[in-house]
């Protein structure tokens, strides 16, 4: 049997658990609503057989410092990224529009929070605001298994300041 003291401790623990988890939830909602940190959600569907009608691989500077990088991932490279490095000068904001021509791939820029799944049939759009002084060469890699050439699937992103 539990003593009264033990029952009190048990209730106390329940309160601790509930408050801790509530604090976690509140902070996640807060960074989303107040700071604008969300997970990727935007997509448009596309036809993998006619990809060139939906996306043109390459970099466009929309306004000074704001880049749109259009990437097609296919077995087993990123275009651009693997075909030639993605070079950006003084980026303030980068919008990646990415799709796949075949399997599910992953798009990870090592050392940054950019990490998104790439689906064939869907063009994903993700935004990244890199830290102001961030520069150098970054390894880009596919982090979702995509058949036997998966580990060859890598590229380079270069940020110049």
């Amino acid at each position: 049997m539990m003593s009264q003291e033990e029952v009190r401790l048990e209730y106390l623990w329940v309160i601790v658990v509930v408050s801790m988890l509530s604090a976690f939830i509140v902070s996640l909602v807060y960074v989303g609503v107040a700071k604008g940190f969300w997970t990727p959600e935007e997509v448009v569907t596309c036809d993998v057989k006619k990809l060139d009608e939906f996306i043109e691989p390459g970099i466009r500077e929309l306004e000074p410092g704001v880049y749109e990088v259009n990437i097609v991932a296919r077995r087993w490279f990123f275009e651009p990224g693997s075909t030639q490095p993605i070079v950006l000068e003084n980026p303030r904001k980068i919008i990646f529009r990415i799709t796949s021509a075949d399997y599910i791939h992953g798009f990870e820029i090592v050392g940054t929070p950019v990490n998104v799944m790439i689906f064939p049939g869907y063009i994903a759009e993700v935004e990244w605001i890199p830290p102001k002084n961030l520069q150098g060469e970054f390894l880009v890699l596919c982090n979702e298994y995509c058949g036997i050439g998966h580990s060859n699937m890598r590229g380079i992103l270069i940020i110049k300041r």
């Binding site: 539990m2 033990e6 401790l9 048990e10 623990w13 329940v14 658990v17 509930v18 988890l21 976690f24 939830i25 996640l28 909602v29 960074v31 989303g32 940190f37 969300w38 997970t39 990727p40 959600e41 935007e42 997509v43 569907t45 596309c46 036809d47 993998v48 077995r75 087993w76 075949d102 399997y103 599910i104 992953g106 990870e108 090592v110 050392g111 929070p113 950019v114 990490n115 998104v116 799944m117 689906f119 064939p120 049939g121 869907y122 994903a124 759009e125 390894l139 890699l141 596919c142 982090n143 979702e144 298994y145 995509c146 058949g147 036997i148 050439g149 998966h150 580990s151 060859n152 890598r154």
Partner: protein, 548 residues
């Protein structure tokens, strides 16, 4: 009355438990061997020993054999033993036989496809990657076998309930029923998706939608995690107090935890899809909240078990803030194995909360962090608990004494140390961005130098883990075939003495609550996917050949 009870025989039940346990042990053996190959292949400076195709075939085998086959078969074995002994009822022989045949046939068919190199699609089998039809059909047959198994157990439970309408459900049986209810929540949509999308894809090269299929997969994928964890939790609740000779600190709290697992373990799968585009942030956030709710029972369990241990330690004369710890039977491999697994589960819970924290997932998704996470959860909280339990179960089922309790003790400590090293290193190096599921992490010489020392630490821990696994296999097979015969066997699970039922024993209510939460979490998600319109793509083989 009591003479009646003594005459019940459990010949068929025990035969079922023995066969399923043996299948589980073989899966653990083969899966562990595959783990060793992965380790060698992925460690910088180590020679490459297999080509990529073989690597991914082996990785598929590792995931399927360990995460699906070893766990499922051990759980079936344990469930039959617990329910038959604790309720003192027989389980329908025909259903058990059918479940056993289907589960083994399904496993065999999927394993054959993998071992022939026709299913290098990993244990998550995301389309449009395509495997041989035997792989998918095998999975479906295994699932159907598991449903028949669940029917057999519920049938036995209801028969008991009819005789004992005014008693509460004994705790270990409640744990088994919880496990099966979670499995029944999780599997029907998965089976539907496999039959609707993947079997036609692999037979007729029918195009598929990847987002739709992935969402069904992860609808199943998270409750699967609780299907692994709840039996381990049940063993901690049931066996640890028995070993220590004290009652569980709070049986009521334990039942509340089990019920929370029933209601909240399924409507959370989107937390595996945080970085999937195409699913609204709002739906992801709703499932994040449910995820934090399903963290509650784990935290309640942590308190309940620690309080039970403390009570036992103090009764044995331990005092001071932590002095009671020293009085616990750390030399007993069953106690030590389960308690060490429980301790690592705590750390698994912490990294799990990180994974579930919405945008934090960007940093860890598909990195080695996640691999570190599930080697301390399913790979230890579950597996080491099952290993420890097997040191009790095997003597009872096979009527043999464990070949060497000393080696068994060494084995469980070795596992603990190994996993502590391997998983810690995996977590840290994952934060540096090392991807999982990769044949070659050197990236043609572009490997960041920060990765290397930690990957070597992973290898050290992994080798010790393989050693512990090998020692375990040596002990169990030696026990089964050459252990000293035990004459009269003792049941390690006894018929429970029972209180009257409360609302906590009314499973029907909790199942209804679970279904409502699932509807709230998933109906909007699927509406979003279907109303956008599916985007079908052709299947491909792992070699890159487009089919159809």
């Amino acid at each position: 009355m009591s003479t009646m009870q003594k005459t019940i025989e459990f010949r068929v039940e025990d035969k079922f438990s023995k066969i399923t346990l043996a299948v589980g042990l073989i899966a653990l053996l083969l899966g562990g061997f595959f783990g060793l190959i992965q380790l060698i292949e992925r460690t910088p400076y180590m020679p490459s020993i297999v080509p990529p195709k073989t690597y991914y075939t082996i990785l598929t085998g590792h995931g399927v054999l360990l995460a699906l086959v070893w766990t499922t078969f051990f759980i079936m074995s344990l469930a039959v033993y617990i329910v038959s002994r604790e309720l003192r009822v027989n389980i329908n022989k025909t259903l058990l036989l059918l479940a056993c045949i289907l589960a083994i046939a399904g496993t065999f068919s999927a394993a054959l496809a993998i071992l022939l190199g026709k299913a290098a699609v990993l244990y998550t089998f995301y389309p449009p990657l395509t495997a041989h039809p035997l792989f998918y059909l095998g999975l479906v047959v295994l699932i159907i076998g598991s449903w028949i198994f669940a029917v057999a157990i519920f049938h036995a439970y209801l028969a008991w309930r009819k005789n004992k309408p005014s008693t509460s459900i004994p705790l270990a049986t409640m744990g088994v029923l919880t496990t099966l209810i979670i499995w029944l929540e999780a599997t029907p949509p998965l089976a539907f998706m496999v039959l609707k999308n993947l079997v036609p894809m692999s037979l007729h090269y029918t195009p598929v939608d990847v987002l739709e299929s992935r969402t069904y997969f992860w609808y199943f994928g998270h409750p699967l995690v609780y299907f692994w964890i709840v039996p381990a939790v049940t063993l901690w609740y049931y066996a640890l107090p028995k070993i220590l000779g004290v009652p569980l600190f709070s049986e009521k709290m334990a039942k509340i935890a089990l019920i929370l697992f029933i209601v909240a373990s399924t409507p959370v799968g989107l937390h595996h899809q945080f970085v999937d585009p195409g699913i609204s942030n709002i739906y992801k956030l709703v499932q994040t909240i449910f995820t934090f709710i399903v963290a509650t029972p784990s935290l309640l369990t942590a308190f309940n078990i620690v309080a039970t241990l403390e009570r036992a330690g103090r009764l044995r004369g331990g005092n001071g803030v932590l002095g009671w710890l020293k009085k616990l039977p750390w030399g007993d491999p069953v106690f030590a194995g389960m308690t060490l697994a429980f301790i690592l589960f705590g750390f698994g819970g912490i990294s799990g909360v990180v994974n579930a924290s919405f945008i934090l997932n960007y940093v860890v998704h598909n990195t080695l962090w996640v691999v570190g996470h599930f080697h301390i959860t399913v790979g230890t909280a579950t597996t080491l608990t099952f290993i420890a339990a097997s040191y009790l179960l095997i003597p009872v089922l096979f009527k043999r004494e464990v070949a060497s309790m000393r080696l068994a003790r060494a084995q469980v400590y070795l596992w603990f140390v190994a996993i502590a090293i391997m998983s810690t290193a995996m977590h840290i190096v994952g934060l540096y961005g090392v991807p999982r599921r990769t044949y070659d992490v050197t990236y043609g010489g572009q490997i960041p130098s920060s990765w290397i020392p930690l990957l070597l630490a992973v290898a050290v821990g992994g080798i010790v883990l393989v050693a512990s696994g090998a020692l375990y296999q040596a002990i169990v097979w030696r026990t089964i075939f050459g252990g000293k015969r035990l004459e009269d066997h003792i049941d390690v699970v006894n018929e429970a003495t029972l209180a009257s039922p409360t609302i906590l024993d009314n499973l029907r209510i909790w199942i209804i609550v679970a279904v409502i939460l699932i509807a709230v979490a998933y109906i909007p998600t699927f509406l979003e996917i279907y109303s956008r319109g599916l985007s079908l793509v052709p299947p491909l083989t792992p070699e890159g050949q487009i089919l159809g």
